[in-house]
Amino acid sequence: MTTPHRERGWTRRTFLLLGAAGMAAISTAVSWHRWRTIGVLHHEPGTTGTVDPDDHVLRTVTEFTGALSGVSLSDDDRKELRGRFSYAARKDSGWRNEYQWLSAYLDSLAEEAKGTSFVEVSSQQKEQIMRLALAIGESSRAQRFHAFLRADGRKLLRMRKSTFPHLMYVYRNSGVPWRHRGYRSWPGRPGDRLAYTRPVDSATC
């Protein structure tokens, strides 16, 4: 004689437990998403103001962008990039904060390596420091998670996810890369409307 099979029913308790687990999962996912996207891994927008950023900060950010893009900046290039970063910082205090933090961090790396500020080191050393700044937390998931747990680590991750792409975006849309390509006008700036029918003869690459 076989024992009668008893089907497992969905009790009220099971429903409540599953519901609670579901709510917890959704809540965690939303928090995680928010954490990743606003203010933690991405730049947090600020307010528009009239305060010009600190001169040293602008110089540092400009030089760092030169290192990121791998080109030797001319005085014209520096002037243009600086103007654009100044615009960003005035229009959005969130960027001013990011620039200040980045500048201080780069100076600390330069101080540690060469005993001076970032803007004072050679081009080669700037590239080395830039790569050092860029590589933080990059090597493994465990290291990234470890960085996440520290306030400084999170800021560095945000630099990589948000600030560095922003700097390259500003660079790419400026006249700097176009001048290095030998262009006399570029998208956003009026020029000779038939220049496009002729080759560019002064490109550096």
Partner: protein, 515 residues
């Protein structure tokens, strides 16, 4: 506040269709009201907007934003991505001409009779010959620079401005064409090669879809002039919500609401809906007007892009202007056209090696830039989307706008003919890229949207097959008309803007004769 309670003509929408209807009517003394659901943007702010975009990544122009009118998209299973509708319908004075590339073409003769010529698609109730003189007028109004090209239909009047010559390095494409036995032409542009229409000549700013100086045509210039001359009364931020008809099919009034919540009852002898393809169908569906044949909203069409390109040894210098200069119509008709749609080719160049990705920075990035910049070219194909009753606009049953009216549901559906057109286009463009000497030829993608919405209120002499007749009058009414690409029975493979303008001028003339 509207100036009167009765108008001769009420035009809903201030894009190129509405502007051209008004322009043709304006000399007749008609009292014209133009309603615009969106804003009037300040052209003088464009350079500041451009700077903000270049630095802060704000939308290139404020109207190019998805964070706007609600809609539901069901196209992803067909085209492979969610169709971001608001990016391609501009709600403002000037309509979608505020954001477009400026390439402009007449439809070809076969576009009006693809069913009787090839056995696919649908014939229009009018022919190319019926529209030719309106094309000439539209080219004069808009200002077109160019010339008659291989594959262009016959014209009775020269274009008003000199052509744009080819780019440096494009002679290579002419050599490919000669070797392979087809012809390449120079694209026509609604972009001033000389000052024209109180607008300046192009200054090579290279951000063409949003030309900051107005060298590329946009319909707000026409609307502004009509308003300045007191020929049109313009009501902005006023949304047309319902057409009220009597039992004889006569539209007695239009109910509209402005953004302050003030309601208007607008009475006119004639009404013209020129609210772009999606909203035109939506207003008819909301009003339950003109849909006796169940055709309203159906046959929604686009132009889809595909193409291929690769790296070349020689160097071109891209982005010195923001537009293409060459086009090819060889595959527009031609072989196997009975089983596929029209294909128009253009020739493209440039990929920006400076995109921040793959962790490439510093001297490595600079080397990549030197290695790749100016060494990528390709061929893009703009392909026809066949009329398809399942490709359509309907009303949402669950989502409403700020007035409580259902938002549109869009679904672009593809047929086997469309897929064959796409595959042929990809094959042809890959072949041409290889013939040009491209290495590592790859597709530039499939079913990219061109932002050309057509159909949904198609024109037919038979009320059972269409929404409007050959004069663009809604079949079941005696005073309601539709202007714009929504009346197109087929969409061809060429930019629709000039045909929209020509059809609107024709409609304006028809309305003038009714006065």
């Amino acid at each position: 506040m509207l100036s009167t309670s009765k108008y001769d003509v009420c035009i809903i929408g201030s894009g190129v269709a509405g502007a051209m209807v008004a322009k043709r009517l304006a000399g007749t003394g008609a009292k014209i009201l133009m309603l615009e659901a969106g804003k009037q943007f300040d052209r003088s702010a464009r350079f500041e907007q451009l700077r903000s975009h270049e630095i802060l990544r704000t939308p290139l122009w404020p109207w190019v934003s998805e964070d706007r009118d609600g809609y539901v998209d069901l196209s992803a299973p067909e085209i492979g991505y969610t169709y971001t509708l608001n990016e391609s319908r501009i709600k403002a004075v000037g309509g979608s001409t505020l954001f477009w590339g400026g390439l402009i073409n007449r439809f070809r003769e076969t576009d009006f009779c693809s069913a009787s010529t090839y056995g696919i698609g649908l014939d229009w109730p009018i022919s190319y010959a019926d529209l030719e003189r309106y094309y000439c007028d539209a080219e004069a109004e808009v200002g077109v620079a160019g010339k008659q090209n291989p594959g262009d239909p016959p014209r009775s009047r020269e274009l008003p401005m000199p052509l744009w010559p080819p780019k440096y390095g494009e002679d290579a494409w002419f050599r490919v064409a000669e070797k392979m036995g087809f012809e390449i032409g120079l694209a026509n542009h609604a972009r001033n090669s000389t000052p024209y229409g109180n607008r300046p000549a192009c200054a090579a700013i290279s951000v063409c879809p949003v030309c900051p100086i107005g060298a590329r045509y946009s319909a707000d210039y026409h609307v502004d002039q009509l308003v300045a001359d007191n020929l049109v009364e313009l009501a902005v931020e006023t949304v047309a919500r319902r057409l009220i008809t009597n039992d004889r099919g006569h539209v007695e009034m239009l109910l509209a609401t402005d953004l302050d919540g003030t309601d208007y009852e607008i009475r006119a002898d004639n009404y013209v809906i020129a609210a772009q393809t999606i909203e035109t169908a939506r207003l008819l569906l909301l009003s339950e007007v003109g849909n006796e044949s169940d055709q309203v909203g159906r046959n929604l069409m686009e132009h889809w892009y595909t193409g291929a390109g690769g790296f070349i040894d020689d160097k071109v210098f891209p982005r010195r202007i923001g537009f293409e200069t060459l086009e090819c119509n060889h595959w527009y008709d031609g072989p196997d056209r009975e089983v596929r749609g029209a294909i128009k080719l253009s020739f493209i160049e440039g990929r920006d090696p400076l995109m921040y990705r793959d962790g490439l920075v510093g001297t490595d990035l600079a080397e990549k830039n030197c290695r790749e910049f100016g060494h990528w070219v390709g061929v893009a194909a703009e392909i026809e989307h066949q009329p398809n009753p399942e490709s359509r606009v309907t009303l949402s049953e669950s989502q409403t706008d700020q007035f409580g009216d259902p938002v549109p549901v869009i679904k672009f559906a593809l047929s086997d003919v469309d897929r064959r057109t796409h595959d042929t286009a990809l094959e042809v463009t890959s072949m041409l890229a290889e013939a040009r000497g491209c290495r590592d030829v790859t597709s530039i993608g499939s079913y990219h949207r061109a932002h050309h919405h057509m159909g949904t209120c198609r024109m037919s002499s038979d009320p059972a097959l269409g929404v409007v007749d050959a004069n663009c009058k809604v079949h079941s009414t005696d005073n309601l008309y539709v202007a714009g690409a929504s009346v197109f029975p087929t969409g061809g493979g060429r930019q629709p803007m000039l045909t929209i303008a020509a059809m609107a001028l024709r409609l304006g003339e028809h309305l003038a004769t009714r006065r």
